[in-house]
């Protein structure tokens, strides 16, 4: 552990997962997330990102390797963990109003009624849905539904927030707004976030660190520190030299990962173009 690193919240060590015996969905993933950090995880489609997330959440039991939260091995769903699912429409409850959706998890947390109501109020205000408490999720647009899912996670006050491609199916404008919302939440509340995405810009823009995974079955390919100022701006930051450099570094890695090598690669020499990988057949995907 590096000395300047804050307290470790999540520690994934040599995680290996097989849905069917002998067919690995995840080969070997290891990384750590410190308190208050936002770590982006990028990898080619189908490489096992959702599987990783579910293993961290305790929804899947790793075939081998360990997931530790606050130093304790996860054997069931940890009670201070929240998640924003990839399929946000399906993760909201259509029989509950927006406010009830946010409140439901709090019924099983030891907080008194008044505080519960205040938390719901505050979380919904934070995502800009103060006027939509009584609406049902199906009366909202996709972007607003995703805000409800985020508010639900915020109100829960988790020590680790997992987000699985949370903005994959909203339009570009809404996506930018929601990204800034998450950035603000992380800054203001110091929430620890593990963000899964396949969008390189998003990974760099939001992350304190980016972890790149190889194609299926995935391995940790590289960790990249994002040394950008913590105040970021959709237009300014994305136009900065540092951002562009980081972005192309990640893009090169992803390209290499997608072309099929599952080898862990060394960082390219400073300034040199990334070497073209030797052509190798793409790893067969395990079909569900």
């Amino acid at each position: 552990m590096r000395v300047r690193e804050p307290k470790t919240v999540l520690e994934v060590e040599d995680l290996h997962y097989e849905y069917l015996p002998g067919k690995a969905a995840i080969d070997s993933i290891s990384f750590k997330i410190g308190e208050g950090e936002l770590v982006s995880i990028v990898g080619p489609s189908g490489c096992g990102k959702t599987t990783l997330m579910k293993s961290v959440a305790g929804l899947l039991r790793p075939t081998s390797g360990t997931v530790r939260m606050h130093g304790v091995a996860v054997s069931q769903v940890p009670d201070d963990l929240a998640m924003v699912f990839q399929e946000y429409e399906r993760s909201l409850y259509p029989w509950l109003t927006v406010a009830e959706n946010v409140k439901l998890p709090l019924r099983y947390v030891k907080v008194d009624k008044g505080q519960r109501a205040r938390r719901v109020e505050r979380a919904l205000a934070e995502v800009g849905l103060s006027r939509d408490h009584a609406k049902y999720p199906w009366q909202l647009s996709g972007g607003m539904q995703q805000r409800v899912a985020i508010a639900r996670a915020l109100a829960y006050r988790p020590s680790l927030l997992l987000m699985d491609e949370p903005f994959a199916s909203v339009d570009a404008q809404t996506r930018a707004e929601l990204e800034d919302l998450v950035a603000a939440v992380q800054r203001n509340h110091g929430v620890t976030i593990m963000l899964i995405t396949h969008d390189i810009d998003e990974a760099v823009y939001l992350g304190d660190r980016v972890i790149v995974l190889t194609g299926s079955p995935s391995r940790t390919m590289r960790e990249i520190d994002v040394d950008l100022p913590s105040e970021r701006d959709q237009i300014e930051t994305k136009a900065s030299r540092e951002f562009v450099a980081l972005r192309s570094e990640v893009a090169h890695l992803i390209r290499r990962a997608t072309r099929g090598t599952t080898e862990t690669v060394e960082p390219p020499p400073e300034g040199a173009a990334a070497p073209e990988p030797t052509a190798k057949p793409r790893q067969e995907r395990i079909l569900p």
Partner: protein, 284 residues
């Protein structure tokens, strides 16, 4: 602003434009004709045929309606006769008892079976078999087992109503969205909380549909069971009237059964609509 337009709820954007008054009146008239036209024509044809018939077994509908009113609805406020209280009361009592029993057992059993994919797969063929037995065929079995009392009738109604509730509950529980269950688990809801807040609501459209089918099956079995050795009930009334050749009375009993069926179905549908507002809205 672009986001505002995008985020306008579907309810507002799909609000129908009010048509001018004459068009609305025409629309209502057309609706009435479509809904009730065939029924009115059928009654008129019936009336003409019955009038031209010389058979005493084929009374005209106006006589039947008249008799229905005097026999069943001519009492003191609330305007029902003793005959009504005695027979409709006992019939409804049997039906609702049997149905309620089926609902309780069906939902409890369905949740239990539906909680395991293996159990559901194992039990499904049996449920399909039980559901497919023509219900009047089980009447003799129940007569032999339970005699001719009301226990037999209530049990028979419960038995026949059970299968659709059980089957639909199993399917409803089996098909609860995985993501919704995973969400609940991640947010710390235990087994019981998940059942109450996720499984039940998610399965409720199917469960309620099963309950509605069970209610109409139960009504059938209520009548059938009352044709055998009963001493009250609307089914018994129809049967007894026939024995005494009181043909118009018999028909009025049949009308009463139809009225009971329609009212039960309408009330249940109103309840269903209320409970499933979210489901209707979600699918709109």
């Amino acid at each position: 602003m672009t986001t505002r337009t995008q985020e306008a709820g579907p309810a507002e954007s799909l609000a129908p434009v009010k048509p001018p008054t004459y068009a609305r009146v025409a629309g209502v008239a057309r609706d009435l004709v479509v809904r009730w036209g065939v029924l009115v024509v059928a009654v008129v044809v019936w009336h003409q045929l019955a009038r031209s018939s010389t058979s005493g077994y084929f009374p005209v509908p106006t006589d039947i309606l008249d008799t229905t009113r005097t026999l069943w609805f001519s009492g003191q406020p609330p305007f029902v006769t003793d005959l009504f209280t005695e027979n409709v009361g006992s019939s409804l009592g049997r039906l609702l008892q049997g149905w309620a029993l089926a609902v309780v057992i069906g939902i409890a059993g369905g949740v239990l079976i539906g909680s395991s994919a293996l159990a559901a797969d194992m039990v499904r063929p049996l449920l399909d078999f039980m559901r497919s037995i023509p219900s009047p065929a089980v009447l003799p079995v129940f007569l032999v087992l339970l005699g001719i009392g009301d226990n037999m009738r209530v049990s028979l109604i419960a038995f026949v109503s059970l299968w659709p509730v059980l089957l639909n509950t199993v399917e409803g529980v089996r098909t609860v969205d995985r993501v919704k269950l995973d969400t609940a688990r991640v947010f710390g809801l235990g087994r019981v909380a998940r059942l109450r807040h996720v499984v039940f609501p998610a399965a409720s459209p199917k469960i309620l549909a099963g309950m509605r089918v069970a209610l109409s099956l139960g009504l059938n079995l209520m009548v059938i069971s009352e044709l055998v050795a009963a001493n009250n009930g609307v089914g018994h009334f129809v049967d007894a009237s026939q024995d005494y050749f009181r043909i118009v009375d018999m028909w009025s009993g049949i009308i009463m059964i139809v009225i009971i069926g329609i009212l039960l179905n309408l009330s249940f549908m109103a309840l269903e609509k209320r409970l499933l507002r979210w489901h209707i809205g979600e699918r709109a």
